[in-house]
């Protein structure tokens, strides 16, 4: 075909193409986004809309009353209990985050840089995940006979003569709550950090050593900065999990401590749905702010 024939045919072909797109094709792209749109609407937008709506409703001891009142929020912000519970939850988050980060980073670093063979890496990685084949609750409850007043640990220490009286702080305390959190969520730190570390070009470590960096300098100047995205992803997992948790606090503190989640669970059991909804809205905002803050610090786009 010659060039002149091509240019002559082009203007004629263009309107035809436009007609085709405008005529029969317009709904195709709508159809393509529909499944995701439907799922997000039904499972994300509608529930949140419902919670936001209910948070403005009124209630008494036996029923909830459709209305538009701000009393739920006023009571929430006006009560010192709320502030104390939020502070307590943030304390759990801070402790759990620090410990899971330290342990998770160390485990991932060991797996990624010190286990040489890929087979052993996979084996040890699987070993890390095996506890997750049982449910959260069972893993938590199994601490109780170990840590209790007459539990395994106390009786062993007593019989060895290390202590004279059973250690009381072991169970139903902040210690046991944080211990359970660390136990439950460290893997959520290990996995993303390990993934990021595996993508670090090994020649960078050699280049650092060639430039005279010692092991600690390699860790802080090369590996740590390059692992930040993995740390951010793991932190988001851990922080959001602990912020919303209520069952761990209930079981491991023996009812002596509270978290935001537990506060909501109590309100729901008292049928104070609007109060719980207001609480949920505030918690959602707080968590979103925390995640946004983390994403401001670290760019995780490359990891997704």
């Amino acid at each position: 075909m010659t060039a002149t024939a091509d240019t002559a045919a082009a203007p004629a072909a263009k309107p035809a193409a436009r007609r085709r797109r405008g005529g029969t094709g317009w709904w195709v792209s709508w159809l393509q986004v529909a499944p995701l749109a439907v799922i997000l609407t039904v499972f994300l937008v509608l529930p949140i809309a419902a919670i936001v709506t209910v948070s403005f409703w009124d209630y008494d001891s036996v029923r909830i009353i459709p209305d538009f009142v701000l009393t739920n929020y006023e009571e929430l912000f006006g009560s010192t209990v709320t502030w104390r519970i939020y502070l307590n939850t943030l304390k759990y988050v801070a402790l759990t985050w620090t410990l899971t980060l330290l342990i998770g980073f160390t485990v991932a670093w060991f797996l990624a840089f010190h286990v040489r063979s890929v087979t052993w890496q996979m084996v040890l990685f699987l070993v890390c995940t095996i506890p997750f084949w049982t449910s959260n609750i069972i893993r938590m409850i199994s601490w109780i006979p170990f840590l209790g007043r007459n539990g395994l640990l106390n009786s062993s220490l007593l019989s060895m003569g290390v202590i004279d009286a059973p250690l009381e702080f072991l169970l139903f305390s902040d210690f046991s709550v944080v211990l359970a959190y660390v136990h439950l969520y460290t893997l959520f730190m290990v996995v993303p950090i390990f993934n990021t570390m595996m993508r670090i070009d090994r020649s960078l470590v050699e280049a650092a050593r060639d430039a005279g960096a010692n092991g600690f300098q390699i860790l802080t100047s090369v590996i740590l900065p390059l692992t930040k995205p993995g740390i951010a992803i793991g932190s988001i997992f851990v922080v959001t999990q602990v912020m919303g948790d209520f069952i761990t606090v209930r079981l491991m503190s023996g009812g002596q401590s509270a978290s935001v989640g537990l506060m909501m669970a109590n309100e729901i059991s008292l049928l104070q749905y609007p109060a719980a909804a207001a609480n949920a809205v505030i918690l959602l905002l707080v968590v979103l702010l925390m995640v946004a803050a983390m994403l401001r610090v670290v760019d995780i786009r490359k990891e997704l």
Binding site: S203, L204, E206, A207, R209, D210, A211, G212, S221
Partner: protein
């Protein structure tokens, strides 16, 4: 740090590298004079990179001794050997800008921020990257990354610069320019360069000393002219190119340069063939016109592959065609005996 090292020679004495039972490097002896440009040349898996990494200190030496500047450095960590390595993929730190990449080793030594950044800037100027000091490695082209890597390696004023296939990731045009620049830089700073490559033309163009390696052994270590004109073994003759290796001959294996061979029709031997010529009869398998020269391949009973490079005018004075029976002739003085 700034001191000039009088002696930057590198010597390997019976050095071996074992990976399990595999001998990657098999008891090699090599002396690289101070201030020379040495190319380790060979096909992949010949042990050249293992040798370089042992000199750098990134690979332990299984057996033997390594001396740099006359001192045994077998157990000295990389940064204390006076070597610096430029990695094949450049290995620039992706989270640091060019200045911080170059200043990295100074930072590790505890040099203050202002001082090390000033020195890094100066080093970037010498590799013509001063204008890119604030860029991140991902924002640079391959050639620019390489210059930064070079600056990073040179900032410690090493006695020996080790280059692991530095030009292989560049496009051909850039490769030639960087090649010239490497050679110029080496002359200017006068330290020993050890450069690993699988390209014989690269080695020929750059090296004072070419070390041809195969199967963990050194086949030949000589100047480029010596290697080209007097290949020691059939492997070297084949690898360096431009040679025909005639294996099945009563005089033993020998090499003859492809551009020293003349052709004549088998039916009518040319008068120019003097009594001191050696001749072999064969069939023309292929013919390629390369402009200045014509490249032919012959099928001979004595050699698996026989190339003839003829001057263009000489070829067309008496052209031959594919399938013709021809007589290949060369002077006995051009016959080069091969060991083994």
């Amino acid at each position: 740090m700034e001191q000039e090292r009088a002696d930057s020679s590198v010597e390997l004495v019976k050095v071996s590298k074992l990976y399990g039972a595999v001998r990657a490097v098999d008891s090699i002896d090599l002396r690289i004079p101070s201030g020379s440009y040495c190319c380790l040349l060979g096909p992949s898996g010949c042990g050249k990179t293992s040798t370089l990494r042992m000199i750098a200190g990134h690979e332990t030496i299984s057996d033997g001794d390594l001396m740099i500047g006359g001192t045994v450095v077998n157990d000295v960590p990389p940064a204390k050997r006076g070597t610096a390595m430029m990695f094949q993929s450049y290995a620039l730190f992706p989270h640091l800008d060019c200045t911080d990449n170059v200043a990295f080793s100074l930072k590790m030594r505890g040099v203050g921020r202002e001082e090390r950044r000033a020195k890094a800037q100066a080093m970037l100027e010498t590799v013509h990257m001063g204008a890119y000091a604030a860029r991140m490695p991902a924002q640079l082209s391959g050639g620019q990354q390489q210059r930064v890597a070079l600056a990073r390696a040179l900032i410690t004023h090493p006695a020996v610069l080790l280059l692991d296939e530095p030009l292989s990731a560049l496009d051909p045009f850039l490769r030639d320019r960087m090649r010239e620049e490497l050679r110029r830089l080496q002359r200017e700073i006068g330290i020993t360069f050890i450069h690993v490559t699988h390209s014989q033309s690269e080695a020929m163009a750059l090296a004072d000393l070419i070390v041809v390696m195969s199967d963990g052994r050194i086949e030949q270590a000589d100047s480029p002219r010596e290697v080209f004109n007097r290949p020691r073994t059939a492997f070297v003759a084949r690898f360096i190119g431009g040679h025909n290796v005639v294996e099945r001959h009563e005089a033993g294996p020998f090499a003859v340069r492809a551009d020293r061979v003349q052709l004549a029709s088998a039916a009518a031997p040319a008068k120019s063939m003097t009594p001191d010529s050696m001749t072999m009869e064969g069939v023309v398998r292929s013919m390629e016109y390369h402009g200045a020269a014509v490249h032919l391949r012959l099928e001979l009973p004595a050699a698996d592959d026989f190339a003839v490079v003829l001057d263009e005018t000489r070829f067309y004075a008496a052209p031959v065609n594919v399938g013709d029976r021809v007589l290949a002739a060369w002077k006995t003085a051009d016959v080069h005996r091969l060991a083994g």
